[in-house]
Symmetry: C2
Subunit: 171 residues, 2 copies
């Protein structure tokens, strides 16, 4: 699979999870699957693709591959901390689908608080001190390691789209 070379955190993550199968494999790991045949059965992915994706996920430190065979070799694939940290992305996807594909009252699957069985609040942006923000309060800015190209790109984003500057509307 060709890799994105853009300096962008979205592109960086897509190099790891950017195909139509990988999120299903990661979903299964959150559901407790750890064996090759479990991932295969529960996603319907072809064996060769699954082998390829698992190798990439191990290489990238998302899964750890452990030999769990007592006699002979037998592997388990388990989420590392780096992999477990993908949970917000999966939940954000689930919330979007529930709202915009299925709709209220027609959800197939929900994320709930275990103790009360009640659905979560949708993700909301908040400051580090806990103040809730509107989506329109956010801006995209260069980070400490932004290259010149990234700075230039971000400077062209119109304010209303989350950027620092007003863009003239090119026609």
């Amino acid at each position: 699979m060709k890799r994105h070379t853009q300096h962008c955190p979205i592109a960086g993550m897509l190099n790891i999870v950017g195909d139509r199968w990988t999120w299903l494999v990661i979903r299964e790991a959150f559901y407790g699957a750890s064996r090759f045949h479990e991932f295969e059965r529960n996603t319907g992915i072809a064996k060769n693709l699954l082998a390829d994706r698992l190798a990439l996920l191990v290489d990238e430190g998302v899964f750890e591959k452990r030999d769990i065979g007592d006699r002979g070799t037998r592997y388990a694939y388990e989420l590392t901390d780096k992999g477990k940290a993908m949970q917000p992305v999966l939940i954000a996807m689930l919330q979007w689908s529930n709202d915009h594909i299925y709709g209220a009252g027609r959800e197939l699957v929900q994320v709930v608080e275990r103790k009360t069985n009640k659905p979560l609040q949708k993700f909301q942006p908040t400051t580090k001190s806990g103040k809730r923000l509107a989506w329109s309060d956010l801006a995209i800015t260069p980070g400490p390691a932004a290259s010149k190209a990234v700075r230039k790109r971000l400077s062209q984003i119109p304010t209303e789209a989350g950027g620092p500057q007003q863009r003239k509307h090119a026609s």
Copy 2:
């Protein structure tokens, strides 16, 4: 592109955004791009792929295609409300990449509160009444429209992975 047929909100969303380019196109729309050549230039995607992806995103109601030509035909692609609602997924991806690909102090791009220029809190699960939960407090449960197959699948998830039942460890 073949579509996932699994009854699963993640699979449903991957049918729309599940390839290595589509999120970059959506990122560009959030950055203010609306014209074919802007998406092409800013992502590096091939023209034929871009045409295909834009058509799919319009079909799925993520983008609206508007004729903005004064003389002749000229199109703009703009995020609908359904498309704008994908922002939490993009931000969750950005936060994961910043933590797990780049690391603190080495971020290329950040999402901040516009007014203070300070980075957001990472997404946290909360109840509808605003109580913060730990990731381990969450469970995956069947929604109101869960099929028998979905119910069966979810009943097999071990408790510690977010499911309702303890699974015996198959060896």
